[in-house]
Symmetry: C2
Subunit: 332 residues, 2 copies
């Protein structure tokens, strides 16, 4: 651990995990936190509870704004534990001088997205800080959800399981990068920011037993799969040609040397299920717009426990590691 | 509503209420939010749920730091609804370059204060933003508590009720002001920052039926009493000479023209109970260190509904209004 916090400590990857483990988990240690899930499971497994602070820059970008992102982000963390989002808190920190019209747009987006989740904001907090103490607006949303399918966990993936991604990857990260740099890569590129509860609900109602589920936010699909490989002590092998990546995201990656697998998503999840259910799951996912490009990208083996292996289109193999370094700060 | 957000919009007083009502309540409206309590009551009255973001400056000050404040603040909001703090989330936004040693001190303070409440942190989020995007560190804590006494509400205070403050007022506000300005008013002045659940628990166990309860944070005792007067449609009459204010706080107020009643507290509450229970309540409160200066400061009448009247030591009367203007930004 260094003496000062660096941008890498917020990357959703290796340094971020180190900071969380060595400072926060160490002080706060308890069984629930130790599970390292997207949301805490409390009250005898009936409720899920999760928090997220949003610092995205710019605050408005193609496909969403910080308000929509704040509702999607927290509701999705609940949905990833099989929970229906129910109650949210909303805490905003606003810079002196911020435009009221922009605030209204942000809050309106939150309202719309709450309705899609069937959730309500029941408590809030508003702080205004002097100019220069915060960049425009930061939003914290914390949510409680009612668990509809128990047992979903990053710690229980088994050999032979199938790995699915729900849609084409990397769009949120590529969009924020393009918007921030003022680069107009394409008029078609926009964030995948979306609420995932309706998709999860459909999977549960269709009888799919979800083993593990996680939205691939900071650190992207790489971070999710690496954490799963370690937490469940398994090897994940994925096939490069099966990973859906749109041309616009490919363009950003080629131009800038990014890896689509490490780019952030805000409406795309990774799921582990038993092989027997993979066809049924893909069928259900493809029926819905936001998971229409769902794809089986790999399988769980015991080849290199704790590791993620990418089988490339050229027949070679390489490890995909937990992302490290600065990546993109303020991506969410 | 102006076109741009001003510091007054975060004052815990009139402009703050206007921002909350016109922007947030308007978009998010629902029955729970409309109650305007310190914490939302959910799940058939069994759980309380509350959020707070902390932006205090300086982050370390006599009596506490931002970490202790973040745990006390949210746990106290739960306690004010008669709820035992149970689960907290902790979301931090850290400025690049922040010292790891200071972060450890903050997190250690949180750990100690959690233990006093019997609560645990079950979910967290860590964001690091580039230098200049946030001033040092902001912390959001959101908590769930188990309600031990139902029916506590700012909307149900009755004529004849007694108003009690749990301790001498204004210490947090005066301390932050002194610390920020580098003024050494006194070596004895420190924030009252403390967890209040143990005091509330003792009151409940002693058979006190609490009508309304609120920690007097931003906007101080003035803000609490004005909100109660409006929400319960009653008049609150308080006696100046009964309000406990220590010499150090009096000094700050005289020097700078502040009103102790409007200064923030972080470990002092205002309580409304029936007149029959006032003696018993004072007895219970005085037994505990953090409420040893508890005092009956007034009574509920119907003289000017929606208003707070101060009977001064000189025998005159004046209205105490909801605080307005900039007050002290970043007080909590």
């Amino acid at each position: 651990m260094m003496t000062n916090i660096t941008l890498a400590h917020g990357n959703g990857g290796q340094e971020n995990n180190e900071l969380i483990t060595k400072i926060f988990y160490k002080a706060f240690k308890n069984e629930i936190l130790a599970k390292s899930e997207d949301a805490a499971v409390i009250e005898d497994g009936t409720l899920a509870f999760s928090t997220d602070s949003f610092t995205v820059s710019p605050i408005e970008f193609p496909g969403a704004n910080i308000g929509k992102l704040a509702v999607c982000g927290t509701c999705n963390d609940l949905a990833m534990m099989g929970a229906q989002p129910k109650y949210l808190t909303c805490s905003v920190i606003i810079e002196e001088g911020f435009e009221v019209e922009v605030l209204k747009r942000i809050v309106d987006s939150m309202e719309k997205e709450l309705a899609l989740n069937g959730a309500i904001v029941v408590s809030g907090d508003t702080k205004v800080v002097p100019k220069g103490s915060v960049d425009k607006i930061f939003i914290n949303t914390t949510g409680i959800g009612q668990i509809q399918q128990k047992g979903i966990s990053s710690n229980s993936i088994q050999e032979g399981d199938t790995i699915i991604v729900s849609n084409s990857i990397g769009k949120h990260g590529a969009t924020i990068f393009a918007a921030r740099e003022g680069i107009d890569f394409s008029t078609n590129l926009k964030s995948d920011c979306a609420s995932l509860w309706q998709v999860v609900k459909k999977l549960i109602e269709s009888g799919i037993q979800i083993r593990a589920l996680r939205d691939a936010t900071r650190g992207g699909v790489s971070a999710v799969l690496n954490e799963w490989a370690k937490q469940s002590d398994i090897c994940v092998e994925i096939e490069e040609e099966k990973i859906p990546v749109c041309d616009e995201v490919k363009g950003v990656c080629e131009l800038l040397g990014f890896e689509a697998l490490s780019l952030a998503n805000e409406g795309t999840f990774v799921m582990a299920i038993s092989k027997e259910q993979e066809e049924k799951a893909i069928e259900v996912l493809k029926e819905m717009e936001i998971s229409s490009e769902a794809s089986i990208i790999g399988t769980v083996t015991s080849k290199h426990k704790g590791k993620v292996i990418l089988n490339t289109a050229w027949g070679t193999q390489r490890f995909i590691d937990l992302p490290t370094g600065e990546l993109l700060p303020r991506i969410c």
